[in-house]
């Protein structure tokens, strides 16, 4: 059933995340991942699969590739007369403001879209947490608890100081009501990490945003959530499934390779059709394996032509790997070409990279080598 009373807002960027070479030509949401997807596909599909069919996506710099990818929203079944997909234009002051714009600025830039939409509730989410979540459950939880805001969180396990410095930790009472929020703490006091997803009544959100901006406050976590912990009923919905936040080259590399684990793969992509992840369709041909191909433990998209040896790799659409080449522990993006007799290990190739005959490129498993878009080696 469609959730006629909830709209979605997804933030396509995150000023705190830098994926280096991969974000030189595109925004975070448009970074290719998992063989045929872009980061945005996961959260957008989650929304659509949960019946949230009016979704806005905020944009910032370099939004060409994101707009190109999303198009009319048809691939997500979101090209509609009523509701559908809205690619919002960047905030007007994106270029002139002396400070980095934050979450609330982006909500503000979506204000006319929020006002014009008929839905009474909004699900807001970052794009870079990969999970397969049923928002219906979150919404049900929200009304059960009669909450003002419901935040989605997950068990964090023990975090290193470095990880802790990127996490927002929640403390809750027994019934799930949030009693404390610690933004980037030095010391771990709680096992619950906020997943940068929250559910709220639209009018309430609009009031809060107006009030924050009037007081020159811009951070969602500090000024909307933390500031209201005591005044309002904020509840934490605990998500139990697999999740991975992509916030560095390392976590990007890890997430891709984790897809080689069948349990994780089945969970992320959903085993039944109602939870599948959608993406732009390219009508590539099936992948062709040559007579000498030797491919093990790899995740391969359509349109490839593989004649060499491939192990523990994520191969995107239209990749060609020549004879006598060996590719291990690597992520090779769309239309890249590894010619004959090459050796590639622990590397990330952005789109359309060409590696000429006999070249060798080896990174470290803990520090993969990242080759930028259209590089010819």
């Amino acid at each position: 059933m469609e959730n006629n009373n909830t709209m979605g807002l997804i933030f396509s960027g995150n000023p705190e995340v830098n994926l280096g070479e991969l974000m030189k030509v595109r925004s975070l949401a448009a970074v290719p991942v998992g063989g045929r997807y872009r980061i945005i596909d996961f959260m957008l599909s989650n929304m659509v699969n949960s019946g949230i069919v009016n979704v806005g996506i905020t944009t910032g710099y370099k939004h060409r590739s994101l707009s190109d990818h999303l198009g009319s929203g048809k691939a997500w079944d979101m090209a509609r007369k009523q509701n559908g997909l809205f690619i919002l234009s960047p905030p007007e002051n994106l270029d002139i403001t002396p400070r980095t714009l934050e979450g609330i600025d982006f909500i503000d830039s979506a204000m006319s879209y929020l006002n014009r939409s008929r839905q009474e509730y909004v699900m807001l989410s970052d794009c870079n947490t990969i999970c397969n979540i049923d928002f219906d459950e979150v919404i049900k939880f929200h009304f059960e608890k009669e909450a003002d805001i419901t935040v989605v969180c997950a068990e964090a396990g023990e975090l290193t100081p470095k990880e802790l410095s990127k996490n927002i930790m929640l403390e809750t009472e027994e019934d799930g009501r949030v009693s404390d929020i610690q933004v980037y703490p030095k010391k771990q006091n709680s096992n619950l990490a906020y997943m940068h997803i929250f559910f709220i009544k639209k009018d309430f959100l609009i009031d809060l945003v107006g009030d924050c901006l009037a007081h020159d406050k811009h951070s969602i976590s500090k000024d909307i959530l933390l500031a209201n912990v005591e005044k309002r009923r904020i509840y934490a919905y605990k998500y139990e499934g697999y999740r991975k936040t992509i916030d560095s080259i390392k976590s990007f590399y890890q997430f891709n390779l984790e897809l080689l684990n069948s349990d994780i793969r089945h969970e992320v992509f959903g085993t039944d059709d109602s939870r599948s992840i959608h993406t732009k369709v390219k009508d590539s041909v099936p992948t062709k394996y040559g007579r000498d191909a030797e491919v093990k433990n790899s995740f391969v998209a359509d349109g490839c032509c593989i004649e060499g040896r491939v192990e523990n790799c994520i191969i995107f659409r239209g990749v060609k790997i020549g004879k006598n080449s060996v590719v291990k522990n690597s992520i090779i993006m769309q239309n890249s070409r590894i010619m004959d007799g090459c050796c590639v290990e622990n590397a990330i190739f952005d789109k359309e990279v060409i590696l000429c005959n006999g070249k060798k490129l080896v990174g470290q498993i803990t520090y993969p080598l990242c080759i930028g878009k259209r590089t010819i080696v």
Binding site: S262, F269, T279, T287
Partner: protein
């Protein structure tokens, strides 16, 4: 309605009875091909690339799956405000209603549809061939020659010519004679079932043909010979690409295997002339550490743990550990159990092959109850869609299995039960 220069009509109502169980519940144009396509993707994509954006698809036999597949035509860019793709089943009108009696009658019954677009030319296509062709070039040749009709022809080997409709032409490629399946062919130019007609003229002939009670209402048998007999200028347009009629199990299997050859005769992987299809939303395919894949075509959603060689694997297929698949075509979402052996077989959509089963087995104790060399020639075995072959069952080569096969079926198993 804006008038269109050209409207294409795809004849997609045929049963394709020689494809046996594959076309029991679906029309031939909806039969899967090449890892992610249906046969009808080829003429539909050709239309789009040739700039023909008004396409009627004439359906009749088992149309449900084909209609669903075509839908609004969006995968082929044929969801247009003006024109686009139309599915045209036979219908009942005030005076009468009847099935499409023949290819010409099918077009006759849709004169109203075509006339709405007031086209100059009509392109008639059949929905059961694999080829990539630019119809716009053919229309250009048709216009240049000022012909009444143009028929696409392809050179076939002389020994195969008696199987086709053969066009005898003069030096300027004007058709002088048409022979349907001639015993002693005078030419090896076979009709591809692709025609361009001047609509005004064709309409006249269709009406006259309909009023002739002796006519079979068929293009090849009636309309073409009649037009030729009346002295109309008819051009043969020679096509020299790959063209394959996939009317039999053997030719369908061969056409799939052609894709794996070093020189398949045409480029499926061609960005300028992509064959579009309705894509399922499935993740890339996964090859496990114990997988072995050589010379095959594999598409999205598959999980391969076994050993696959010289095969075409459609979306969502699971091939478990130790399973061996050779020279086969596995249709969408089929499941091959652990240690099963599949040789030179076409396995239908959603079929389930149990652990240790052998399909296309030449063993003496294999089940031969489904032996059917009429459909399954050339040593090909065929497993129907949605069928379960239980663990350990051996299915003999050249079988067409149309029902579930339980454990204990087969000769050896019988003796086992007897001794027990």
């Amino acid at each position: 309605m804006k008038s269109k220069e050209c409207v294409a009509m795809i004849l997609a109502g045929g049963q394709g009875s020689r494809l046996g169980i594959l076309t029991k519940d679906v029309a031939k144009p909806a039969v899967p091909f090449g890892g992610k396509y249906r046969i009808i993707d080829f003429p539909l994509s050709n239309c789009t690339h040739s700039g023909i954006t008004t396409v009627g698809v004439l359906t009749q036999y088992q149309p449900l799956e084909l209609n669903t597949y075509i839908g609004n035509g969006q995968p082929w860019d044929l969801d247009r405000n003006d024109g686009g793709v139309y599915v045209l089943p036979p219908y009942v009108s005030a005076e009468k209603g009847e099935w499409y009696k023949g290819t010409a009658n099918a077009i006759y019954q849709n004169i109203g549809f075509i006339s709405r677009f007031d086209p100059e030319y009509v392109v008639i296509l059949s929905g059961d061939h694999i080829y990539k062709m630019d119809y716009s070039k053919m229309i250009k040749a048709h216009k240049k020659a000022n012909a009444a009709a143009t028929i696409a022809v392809i050179e076939v080997p002389w020994e195969e010519a008696p199987r086709f409709g053969i066009m005898n032409t003069d030096d300027e490629m004007n058709i002088v004679e048409f022979e349907e399946k001639p015993q002693n062919p005078k030419s090896n130019l076979a009709s591809m079932g692709v025609y361009v007609f001047n609509w005004a003229l064709l309409k006249k002939y269709l009406i006259a043909d309909e009023n002739d009670p002796k006519s079979d209402n068929d293009f090849g048998k009636n309309i073409i010979p009649k037009m030729l007999g009346d002295g109309n200028r008819m051009l043969a347009y020679k096509f020299d690409g790959y063209w394959k009629d996939v009317g039999t199990i053997q030719s369908l299997w061969e056409a799939n295997m052609n894709l794996l050859s070093d020189n398949p005769g045409y480029m499926l992987d061609d960005d300028d002339w992509k064959i579009f299809s309705r894509n399922p939303a499935m993740p890339p395919h996964y090859l496990a550490p114990e997988a072995r894949v050589k010379n095959c075509y594999i598409t999205e959603g598959c999980e391969i743990m076994g050993d696959v060689e010289n095969s075409v694997i459609f979306e969502g297929v699971i091939i478990e550990e130790g399973a061996v698949v050779r020279d086969s075509v596995i249709f969408p979402c089929a499941h091959i159990g652990k240690g099963a052996v599949v040789s030179k077989t076409m396995i239908g959509t959603n079929a389930f092959i149990g652990e240790g089963a052998e399909i296309g087995s030449e063993s003496d104790d294999a089940v031969t109850d489904f032996y059917n060399t009429k459909i399954c020639s050339d040593g090909i075995t065929l497993i129907a869609p949605e069928i379960t072959i239980e663990n350990g069952v051996k299915i003999g080569v050249c079988s067409m299995v149309t029902q579930n096969v339980k454990q204990g079926t087969g000769k050896k198993a019988d003796t086992d039960t007897a001794t027990a």
